[in-house]
């Protein structure tokens, strides 16, 4: 090629003055925006929570209602998250590995919880399981409480967190393909050992990633839970509901103290997420695959 067509490498490596100014302006704008709408509010939560001093903060957090809300939130997450891991693995396995009628319908259904407002999700459960709902009479005959009780909260949480594991796993498993599993079968492995020895080790990071997202959402879920919970203090209030109740009672310090717990949970989630991304390369892997294909 003649040098006439070659772009001098310095032009590629060293941006012009205008480019450099543009870059600085854009970065500054983005950082200012983040500071104003993200960092400042998060800091405000902790500032408000600690505004009456550390002792007051400790007392607020140690209130019986807050503690029981914390326990309930933990319980719900401990039930909803493993259930979603199970559903998520089953759904992604089916979608990524098999061809069947209604596959695209299943993929669409998995996304429904993301499309539907959580309040609607809660109302759907009230309609089905509530006292005047479809199954209500049968349930009350058998003395089973779903709505305004823990099972309802778990159901609502499972619903809103359903897509997280599956959506993380499906593209990952599709990108990995089934070659290794087929190879394992030919080598004489049965279905169970293919799953434990090949599939699970291969998807573990993506699974963990999805699980953390699901856990974070199940801890923070407000709308759907709010509808089905009935706000029975100390019994059916999760931490986000507790925050709202305290806030509505003008108990700001206690509200922000409880909110700070949720914020901490969120920060822990983000850190874990980042650690997984770095150590496993889950998302880099997927990007590479996309480029290749």
């Amino acid at each position: 090629m003649s040098s006439r067509f070659a772009i001098p490498s310095s032009a590629l490596l060293q941006p012009s003055i205008q480019q450099r100014v543009g870059r600085v302006v854009l970065i500054t704008a983005a950082l200012l925006f983040l500071a104003l709408f993200l960092v400042l509010p998060v800091a405000a939560v902790f500032a408000q929570a600690l505004s009456q001093g550390l002792k007051m903060y400790r007392d607020s957090v140690r209130q019986e209602d807050v503690l029981s809300a914390l326990r309930l939130t933990g319980l719900v997450a401990c039930i909803a998250v493993p259930l979603n891991m199970l559903f998520g693995i089953a759904a992604s396995w089916a979608i990524a590995r098999f061809e069947f009628h209604g596959k695209s319908l299943l993929i669409t259904l998995i996304d429904v919880p993301l499309a539907v407002s959580p309040v609607v999700a809660g109302l759907m459960y009230v309609e089905v399981f509530g006292l005047h709902g479809w199954l209500g009479p049968w349930l009350s005959e058998h003395n089973l409480h779903v709505i305004f009780a823990v099972p309802g909260i778990v159901l609502a949480t499972v619903f809103v967190t359903f897509p997280f594991v599956a959506r993380e796993l499906i593209p990952f498993m599709q990108a990995q393909g089934s070659d290794e599993e087929v190879a394992a079968v030919v080598l004489g492995a049965n279905g169970w050992s293919v799953f434990w020895r090949i599939t699970l080790p291969n998807i573990k990071w993506a699974l963990l990633y999805g699980t953390i997202l699901a856990a974070s959402r199940s801890i923070g879920e407000f709308g759907a839970v709010s509808v089905v919970s009935g706000h029975i203090r100390g019994q059916t209030t999760t931490l986000p509901l507790q925050v709202e109740m305290l806030y509505n009672e003008y108990n700001f310090t206690a509200a922000f103290a409880a909110a700070s717990l949720l914020t901490l949970a969120a920060i822990v989630t983000l850190v874990l997420k980042k650690i997984i991304e770095v150590t496993s390369g889950v998302h880099q892997h997927m990007e590479e695959k996309e480029v290749k294909s």
Partner: protein, 362 residues
Amino acid sequence: MSIQVEHISKQYGSFTALADVSLTIGNGELLALLGPSGSGKTTLLRIIAGLESPDEGSILLHGEESTQHSASRRGIGFVFQHYALFRHMTISENVAFGLRVQSRQTRPSRRDIRERVLELLRLVQLDSYAKMYPEQLSGGQRQRVALARALATKPRVLLLDEPFSALDAKVRKELREWMRSIHDELGVTTVLVTHDQEEALEVADRVAILNRGRLEQIGTPQTIYDNPASPFVYNFLGNVNLFHGRLLADLSSQGRGGGEGEANQAAVGFVRPHELEVSRDLPRDGKAVVASIVRIHSAGPQVRLELSIAGNGRPVTAELGRKRFEEMALVPGDNIFVWPQSIRLFDDDGARALLLDQGAGI
């Protein structure tokens, strides 16, 4: 172990992958399934492996009906095009996998497994890589690991699905020669799927050529190359010149062996480039055409001439030895005489061989 493929058919929707294919693979034989993409060769291999089930027909392994047996029960080793190594396991764990997943009754002891793995890694010359992971190895090394893994369970049949096609040309050639020597050493019945005719002809004891789900021809590499059964096989096995024309006389009246075909019937003639004779002088019987040299490819042991036949301008390729080429001192633009030393005639739609002749004029 012998493999019998009997009347296998397979349909994917409206696409016919295999149509009534039957063939037998002898004990210890290396058979190549050769064909273009979409010819059904990989489907046939996967049916033999038990990874797909045929719509019709049956697979007999060592005389035993095995069509309904699952892949894990057939005692086969399978090597995939893209290796399919277990990425989260080390090389030795990969090789050991087939032994470790066996049920407690048949599973060898830990010690035996370790020894078997080491033995196999030595066989594929990768014993120093035992602790590494697949991503740390080159493509050729990975495929050797895949072969060791497939051999670990002492399969009675080894099935290879385009094992070298993802590798670059030099590695590919080395690896297939090496694989042939492994085959000779172990004597495992082997089926190799490939779309590379050179690979098939070089490595296999026999070659089966598939086209659009049908078996076109099966035979030793030499038979297939020297006596292609159809125009498709002729074309697929490398460069060939095509001549369309009509028979001047009834072939049977010419008294040439095996010829049949009536006068004035449309026919296609095939002549390989090295079967075309070129000369500056008209041959004694006067049966030759004049052609001009368009281009000369003289890199390599054989010199290839691209010719254009005078009159109709049809392109023809001829090959001749370097020595003869230098004697003739050919340059582009020269006019020379061209005639075939041998020609094979098929009727116009390619369904029937008319003449397989070793010394006819056009």
